[in-house]
Symmetry: D2
Subunit: 383 residues, 4 copies
């Protein structure tokens, strides 16, 4: 019988963790996958209370993710995919383990620490013929898909300049505090052993890279970056010149110390025929200009929205769809891809429209190139 | 043992119906209630396929809502509440039936057709000591709650003027088409037998009434309304003067023929000390002015957001929360209230923070007063 | 020889008066008229210092406007027009006097106190074949002209609803203060003997009426108004239902007690084919929607701006033009009309594109109908 | 007797030239200086018709600016200052000439071609004790002055990042057209002999540099720039990393090929305590954020606006003031400074609040450093 729903497990994401819950809620919005196994925390009590909350069967409450991967792989009713929402440092090992046991993957970004790890995961997923999503969630927004469609259709012509940023305020009080800072939110993000070689660029700069790449299809060639650590071990502010393989230039700015901004991802793509602007904090609109004509405000859900962007509407135009639905949209494609594969059916381009391990590789390359450039006085550094 | 999750059923809302799915998704976002019974459609095949999709047990797939109310009420594991998402005309009978069988209610707005029906349902709910939510979903937005808090705290002083509107474009092509119009979306809404005495005011004008009442706590005293039907049997455009019991005046406009607007609910409350503005299409912001000072843009999720608005955050500031989460927030309070009652625990004010049957009664009164006023040449008409 | 510049005089508007200076600066921006005579103040010292500042010849510094009208009319180099910027109460007598002496008029709004006065001035101007501008300055904005053009061209089809407002905050502290209030700015405006039968509607409501009439060409048929005086002798807040002669309805709101608003004139015109929105506080843009299409943001000065709006550009697109240039645009047409007449040349439609005495008459009618309606409990009142 | 008005002359700016007229109108708005001499064009007929239009005396209509400087300097009623609005290439010679004859200067930006010329003009002005304004007009906007005041007062703390841009669309069609392009507007700007070593950075990038410097008081230390010529001889697009002497970083972007932007100068200054954002296209507002608090929208003319910004109001809050008044504000200070000096009175800081020759020097240095950096592959280049 044709399957219409999947089973999934989760590593990380106990009840106190923000992002795990977002993943679970997003999946439940899609209504096509059910949580059946988990290893939510290395702390036993946290792990247990989360498993209880979701009513998991006793033998699918795992204290060790390796055991989970192994045991699940042997079950008749094994999980179809695992969602990995642990700290960055562990992504590589966990993802590798589940791949080896033949389980599809959804992993939070950034994919992992090093280029080598990233390429290895990409290779392994290919060898095992497994789907591997990396949760660059913003590409799930309908208007980002509409932007991509307009670029693909040639509406803005050839891209000649990109101006993109991701500004936050939340670490502003950590400026100049050095390692003694004890601000609640920022502890692990500022710890290289857990978070990797970059804080700000790794967390939010990579979203710029991914969103621009998704919309434009352009590949980054090189970067010239200035980072500011403001007394911390890792970066908190970045201004980056970029050059794409098509010769176009642009600038990416990301920061955690810009008062007045919360998750201010703004992407502006300028082409020979027009321009597109999208703002994550107001995601239901897309500002579209054909040169010589008035700027137009595209509104999610209206009749003139086409393609994937139209397919993914959950509610009518004018009723805002937020980040949770962008997550759901990523899962929508991923789950359908896994379902089709599981049913022996072909997987279409629409179903592959989720950020994947290769995008994750690009993200890791970007982070490394930026850090390297900044260490060399903003010297141009190839990706 | 203390219960932490509820069981619920649904009447209406098969897989092809938009609003039923929104309710189910919103409930699943709350993760504290599980769909176990349903009577989703009068059409057997639609009813069955929906029940199958949600894996309902065979004996809880009902073809008749009366049977559902009766049988469920006799079960040990009976549903705790029912969500009613049928066309307006049926709300009264269905709600009454479930109340009589002792089951808590969530009902779409408008509550019912007549003042008498509305008051009867209110009375019955009180007698049976049952919770009865009416889904005025916009009051679930965190920034609407923040607006209410600011008014309650006296931030804007005494309300002196209200300017509110709800503008849509979607029926613009029906202007002048008379009854022969066959536009896809508007058929049942323009049919008095199904939709009641009002189309536009009943569908969206009532949201203005409810949102203003929620934020300000003001009671409407009388209205003077001009309606335009543009050749249809029911209204499509309305401009309404209002007077509140405190003597303040205001104006409400709602329309389904205003090009450029999708679900443009905008509420502006002006007081002796300041003002508040909220826009449903951009719901994560609240524009707050203290007289003589710059307008401030409150941003959902920031540290200065307090009370219910802060409690209801699902994701950090800067990541937009849309309508689905507003629905979830309404359910959040309602479900908690039912849980507490079920556990024999007291129900707090926060848990009662959902739009209830009395708000539904006010909505019905408002619709009737507006229609009556317009028939009398915009004569002032008491609610 | 063909004249290229005019001579003008001014009544009222000494150096301490705001609006007189705006008129003089606006005229100097046009560079086609020169101030040569004046009766700037009833106070001798104020009158003298203003005349000195502008280097007026001794015999053209008048202490009495009647003397000025008479003496100027006898000179070879007499003034071509007079600008009247005195308090409302004096407009009628002064305008009448200069008309009788054959001098063209520019007068501040509102034109005068009563319908009879207004009609008399209109008749007199016609008999004397004199140009009579009434300074409804907002119609001078290029984007208001663009709005008018779009409506004239049928872009938005037949008008079906109008939603317009003019909100201010500046008198909020006068709420409830009664006649003892001594707030600096509001003294004369709240004095019926000086300001007429209305404060708020007469000062700013009339701008709504005029701007809508200019853009749409619609004539008001009747109004139903609720005014709030908040303890003052004259109105400070108004909500008004309107009906046009074409049967369309709308709502006008004006207020001096709305925190967060300075000169918030916003005009929205909805038609069967599209809609137009213009905001005085951000006047270089026009929001234009064709039904079923994205909203477009027209930007002053761009190539797609046409007709009068294009002709009146002073500086390139993207460089904001403010109110001073709107005043100048009104004078641009008026002065050119007077010049052509003076040169015995035909006066074109473009040159007649200034708010005139007939518009002033409509304004007075509007004010009276609104006041009358409000006294009769918001009863519909014909203009 | 104390003088209250000045006499001025103009070089360049015949009736067909846009910018000359803006200067003359701006001066007339200030009402304190009178045009009495001119050398408006090298073409005799153009020169004459302009002189006629302004009614200049015969002997003050000059065909040669050197003659004008010499003859005026000998007159009793000589011009107090000259405004230079000729193409960039001629600024240096003309300014030098008038300085040598002891006449104060207002000169369009950029000041001149080379660093050496710039420093020479600066030195000469100092030696001669003459005022020398360079028309960086945007610093004349009241809200730019308010921004400066807030930074000066420490409201945003120490500056840690700057994000500024100036985007235009108007040359988009010249992309890839090479030297054969004949687009109407761009001819002289793309000609190095007339315009200097830079087109885009010299025309608009320099405004970013100046506006940021004015608001923050920060001095640029070095730049790393990528320019795009798109087949033209001079630059049309630039992305520039900057470092200030206080160690802070930032990014400047300017472009003439960005669809949807007209004169999109946007300046955002981020500090340790807050942030400020100003947009030239909507100049009456200032977006001000104290960290941890809601963003505030400062509105020109309101009571909480202080200092120079308050002094320079021409019209009440809510009535937009545009670029013409920003020009007037620059002249306001400059003229008052010249008047005071002429009257033997001290010149205050407020009167020196105009962009001067030293700011012009900084602008030239900036342009040269950017061009040099771009030629060296975006290498860091000191100013």
């Amino acid at each position: 019988m044709k399957r219409t729903k999947l089973r999934y497990g989760m590593v990380g994401g106990d009840l106190s963790a923000f992002i795990g819950r977002v993943h679970r809620k997003a999946i439940s919005l899609e209504e096509t996958a059910c949580l059946v196994a988990g290893c939510f925390s290395s702390k036993e009590d946290k792990n247990r209370s989360c498993a209880e909350f979701y009513n998991l069967e006793e033998d699918r409450r795992y204290q060790d993710y390796r055991e989970m991967a192994q045991k699940e792989s042997l079950r008749e009713d094994k999980i179809d995919f695992v969602t990995i929402v642990t700290p960055n440092v562990t992504h590589y090992e966990i993802a590798k383990t589940f791949l080896e046991y033949g389980i599809h993957i959804v992993c939070e970004k950034p994919l992992c620490f090093t280029r080598e790890q990233a390429l290895e995961l990409e290779k392994l997923a290919k060898e095992k013929d497994l789907f591997f999503a990396v949760m660059y969630s913003y590409t799930g927004f309908g208007m980002v898909k509409q932007a991509k469609k307009l670029v693909d259709d040639g509406f803005i012509g050839r891209v000649v300049n990109v101006n993109a940023e991701y500004l936050q305020e939340w670490l502003i009080d950590d400026i100049g505090k050095g390692d003694t800072s004890t601000t609640k939110l920022s502890t692990w993000r500022k710890e290289p052993k857990i978070t990797g070689i970059s804080n700000c660029v790794g967390d939010i700069g990579t979203h710029i890279e991914n969103t621009v790449a998704y919309i434009t299809g352009l590949k980054l060639k090189k970067v010239a970056a200035v980072l500011d650590n403001f007394g911390q071990e890792l970066d908190m502010n970045a201004n980056i010149l970029v050059e794409y393989e098509n010769g176009a230039h642009g600038v990416y700015s990301c920061s955690q110390v810009c008062a007045g901004h919360a998750n201010g991802l703004v992407v502006r793509i300028f082409g020979t025929e027009g321009a597109i602007e999208w703002k994550q904090e107001d995601p239901n609109y897309l500002f579209v200009t054909k040169k010589g004509h008035p700027m137009q405000i595209y509104n999610r859900g209206m009749g003139y929205i086409e393609g994937r962007a139209a397919l993914l509407n959950h509610i009518p135009s004018g009723h805002p769809e937020g980040l949770m639905l962008a997550f759901a949209n990523v899962y929508n494609a991923f789950i359908q891809a896994v379902l089709n594969k599981s049913n022996g059916e072909p997987v279409t381009a629409d179903e592959l429209d989720f950020p994947n391990v290769s995008n994750g590789v690009e993200g890791v390359k970007f982070i490394h190139a930026v850090i390297e450039s900044s260490k060399n006085g903003a010297a141009w550094t190839d990706l």
